[in-house]
């Protein structure tokens, strides 16, 4: 069978799994560990075999560990590729001709960017996954509303249209996709706006010539004031540093906005030296003060361009959707740590169909059941001593 057809068939199965995973619009279905389902296990083991055979850099990595299709029996045994592989290699099973999109990591100044390659089909899977989990966590659709699972099948999940009354107002602090075509985050926001956004939803960020992002704070404030005037709830989407810029602007004008009831805020990503750094608590408190959105309505996202699914902070901990699983592993042994213990976050994401499903991140977390608490990035912590790298 043609390799692409095998993958496309597999992707259709994952989409079906995504469609059926979240039958209830609230968190009831999250109490069980979805990754322990037979479907997840079956899909994960299939995907491992495909990827082992078709992603050369991954195959060599597995073989270096003495792992092959024959000795992986559960999804937890699937080798996780270090996330840095995306900086050094093309981590992809896609033939060159089918690589129609590429997402680069925003990266930290002076570092190489990672690249995540997509075809039209794998991009469709990314969109299905992000829409499904975002709507589940953020948008409480009424029964009558169109759900993402109803939005179509195969390559185009957006056949349907939401009723105008179900559309939401988004104010997005990043540049739009035409200014940042290689950002997976912007693609995510663009997709959300396209499917769920009303006609007054806006991107209010700009990209400069060095691909740095700035927030057009006046434009944001104008859009928010318009929503306040019409009592339209707003969903603000942005990176942590873009909020700092916006909130500093609002504070400098000695103003305080009171967003309409039902408004929400999503913040994601680190600061990467683009603004002063705040703790999550400080940021949320500032958002509450300046925008009038209570802590309960502020949601943090954990995502990266090397993944196709996102985790949202729910009930104090980050959770991935049922088609992705996060483990916290001991840096010493690589084994999963006990509940409440610290380690490195490892993610298995079925929506990473054409790259690699098992990703070893460089982020530290605390295991909380099948969810996790985020602590920070491992590479930033250096040992103490008088040597050069010491802090």
């Amino acid at each position: 069978m043609n390799q692409n057809l095998v993958f496309d068939d597999f992707i259709a199965r994952v989409r079906a799994f995504i469609g059926s995973s979240l039958s209830e619009p609230d968190s009831a279905s999250l109490s069980a560990a979805p990754s322990d389902s037979e479907d997840f296990e079956d899909l994960a083991l299939h995907l491992f075999r495909f990827q082992f055979e078709n992603v050369p850099v991954y195959r060599r990595f597995c073989e270096g560990r003495g792992v092959s299709e024959k000795n992986v029996h559960t999804w937890r045994e699937i080798p996780a590729l270090p996330v840095r592989a995306f900086k050094e290699f093309d981590v992809s099973s896609l033939p060159v001709a089918d690589r129609t999109s590429v997402f680069y990591s925003s990266g930290t100044a002076g570092q190489k960017s990672s690249r995540h390659l997509h075809s039209a089909v794998s991009l469709g899977l990314y969109e299905s996954a992000l829409l499904r989990w975002f709507s589940h966590c953020f948008l409480n659709f009424k029964d009558t509303a169109l759900r993402v699972s109803d939005l179509g099948s195969n390559c185009d999940p957006f056949v349907g249209e939401l009723a105008p009354s179900e559309k939401r107002r988004f104010v997005i602090l990043t540049p739009a996709a035409e200014q940042a075509p290689n950002s997976s985050l912007v693609h995510m926001f663009e997709t959300i706006k396209r499917v769920f956004g009303d006609c007054d939803s806006v991107f209010a960020g700009d990209a400069d010539s060095q691909c740095g992002w700035t927030v057009n704070s006046s434009r944001v404030v104008a859009a928010l004031e318009n929503a306040i005037l019409h009592s339209t709830p707003v969903i603000v989407l942005g990176t942590a540093f873009s909020y700092v810029h916006l909130l500093d602007f609002v504070a400098s004008q000695h103003r305080r906005l009171e967003l309409p009831v039902g408004s929400k805020v999503l913040e994601t990503g680190g600061y990467k030296g683009r603004s002063r750094t705040l703790t999550k608590c400080e940021l949320h408190s500032l958002i509450e003060t300046c925008l009038g959105v209570s802590e309960a309505k502020i949601i943090s996202e954990y995502g990266m361009s090397e993944l196709s699914s996102q985790a949202y902070l729910r009930g104090g901990f980050f959770r991935f959707p049922p088609w992705a699983a996060a483990c916290v592993v001991s840096p010493e042994t690589g084994d999963e740590v006990g509940d409440g213990e610290q380690g490195l976050i490892r993610v298995f994401d079925l929506a990473n169909a054409r790259s690699v499903m098992g990703i070893q991140t460089e982020d530290l977390g605390v295991r909380r059941g099948d969810a996790f608490e985020l602590i920070g990035r491992a590479e930033l912590s250096e040992p103490r001593g008088c040597s050069l790298m010491a802090v």
Binding site: P82, E332, T333
Partner: protein
């Protein structure tokens, strides 16, 4: 031992007043069972206030004036010679204490601590102290009074060296060597000293200070050990105001920040962070037994868990010997595993272990995709890691026994590879034999290395070592020349 008599009433009073000021949260002192001689003996979490620190500086200066003149150089040398011997004695209470409590407090394993203390205190003896004074000051008795230059000098010039009234030492990091030796040098210079340690790293300097206090309470009364979180400008300003010499170690940014805040008078000695590496020549690979050389290289990596600025990050190995650079790396890995059995690294906090795991997985990935990278690592732990890379570019290690081996065609390639850290190089450990050793040493010296030693000795500098190329004792003193 020396009988210095009891402390004066005011000295005792000072300590008891300070201790009474503190509200206890967790009584570290009781846990460590040490008397309350120093501010660092106060309970964990005790707040050091501006006025406490100011009073401490005034007391130190006063005690220095009263007690230090009683000490001649000879008496100091005898005392430190004895103290050095004591610390090497397995039954010496402070050493026992350091080894019993140290693993939990410092994170170093008992054997790593024992070897580190041995290397340090083996240098603290009469012969080394005399050599140091003669090296830095020319004559042994110049700290006692005017002394002429050595015979043979045609001039009749005499000179006297005097140390600062109060030295403020701002110590960084968890390796005690530089801090402890600076206490010794400060005492030789008859200076009262306040040593401010990084938070959580007072343990060994404090034990040394206690051992000094036990044998010479009046000298101990001229020394203060204190700890607070770095960057407290309010407290630091007291030190800068009261002391006439500030010695600091830390990052270049830290040193620059301190320098900018010092009043115009007084002396500033800054020791920036440094890196070191080893260089293995083709002749040494041919003539030495590989396991012996690799064993000595491993000892350099293992000492103080590689956290010191004298610890090697990289071993450059010349191509073309009987043993290849990859074979050297493999032998080094084998020796690190052996040492892990006898001198374990000890547990690491999760963040530091994660840094190692993350870096290892990156090299594992490279190794699986290219023969130019090879990885050896301790099984089921992050205890040690060796990365061989064909690329000669210097890599700064994440430390805790993580070392690179890089093959090079010769000295030129190594020097070019390490160019990015040229201004931060401390030690080059050199394995070379015959006349080539001299020319290589000269090249490294011209390039900027301030210390060249045998592999296996990198973390064992002699007492006379000129720290970062400067005379440690000589930099403390101010001279008076008498042209009689």
């Amino acid at each position: 031992m020396f009988a210095d008599g009891g402390l004066s009433g005011d000295q005792r009073l000072f300590h008891s007043v300070v201790v009474a000021e503190i509200r206890y949260s967790l009584n570290m002192c009781v846990q460590l069972d040490l008397p309350h001689y120093f501010l660092a003996d106060l309970p964990f979490g005790a707040e050091i206030t501006h006025s406490m620190l100011s009073d401490a500086c005034d007391t130190l200066i006063r005690n220095g004036e009263n007690y230090l003149p009683e000490w001649t150089t000879e008496k100091l040398i005898s005392m430190f010679d004895q103290l050095g011997h004591d610390w090497l004695n397995a039954n010496f209470p402070h050493r026992k204490y350091a080894l019993d409590q140290g693993p939990e407090v410092t994170g170093f394993s008992r054997q790593t601590l024992a070897n580190g203390l041995d290397a340090l205190f083996e240098t603290l003896n009469r012969e080394s102290l005399e050599e140091l004074i003669i090296q830095d000051l020319g004559e042994l008795n110049r700290l006692d009074g005017f002394a002429d230059s050595r015979s043979g000098s045609r001039t009749r010039h005499a000179a006297l060296a005097r140390g600062p009234e109060l030295i403020a030492q701002i110590a960084a990091g968890s390796i005690p060597n530089a801090t402890i030796l600076m206490i010794v040098f400060g005492m030789l210079a008859r200076s009262a000293q306040l040593v401010k340690c990084a938070s959580g790293s007072t343990f060994l300097p404090r034990l040394f200070a206690h051992s000094l206090y036990e044998v010479a309470p009046k000298l101990g009364a001229c020394l203060e050990i204190v700890e607070w979180r770095g960057g407290d400008k309010h407290l630091e300003s007291v030190l800068f105001e009261k002391s006439d010499c500030v010695i600091a170690s830390g990052s270049d940014e830290t040193l620059t920040a301190i320098r900018q805040r010092l009043p115009g008078r007084g002396r500033f000695l800054g020791y920036g962070h440094r890196v070191s590496f080893g260089y293995v020549t083709v002749e040494s690979l041919a003539s030495s037994r590989l396991s012996d050389l690799a064993g000595r290289a491993a000892a350099d990596v293992v000492a103080w868990n590689q956290l010191g600025c004298l610890s090697p990050h990289v071993f450059y190995v010349e191509h073309g010997g009987r043993v290849s650079a990859v074979q050297f790396a493999e032998a080094l890995a084998g020796e690190l595993e052996k040492l892990e059995q006898s001198e374990p690294r000890g547990p690491l906090p999760t963040d530091q272990a994660s840094t190692i795991a993350t870096r290892r997985s990156f090299y594992e990935l490279r190794a699986s995709n290219s023969p130019e990278t090879v990885l050896w690592s301790s099984p089921e732990s992050t205890s040690w890691t060796v990365v061989y890379e064909a690329d000669p570019l210097f890599q700064v290690s994440c430390l805790n026994r993580f070392v690179y081996v890089k093959g090079v065609t010769g000295l030129k390639q190594a020097i070019e590879g390490a160019d990015a850290v040229r201004k931060n190089i401390s030690t080059v450990g050199l394995a070379s034999t015959g006349p080539r050793a001299e020319s290589i040493a000269l090249e490294f010296a011209n390039w900027g290395a301030t210390r060249i030693c045998a592999i296996g000795q990198m973390q064992k500098p002699p007492l006379t070592w000129r720290h970062d190329g400067r005379p440690s004792l000589g930099d403390l003193v101010t001279w008076t020349d008498w042209e009689r």
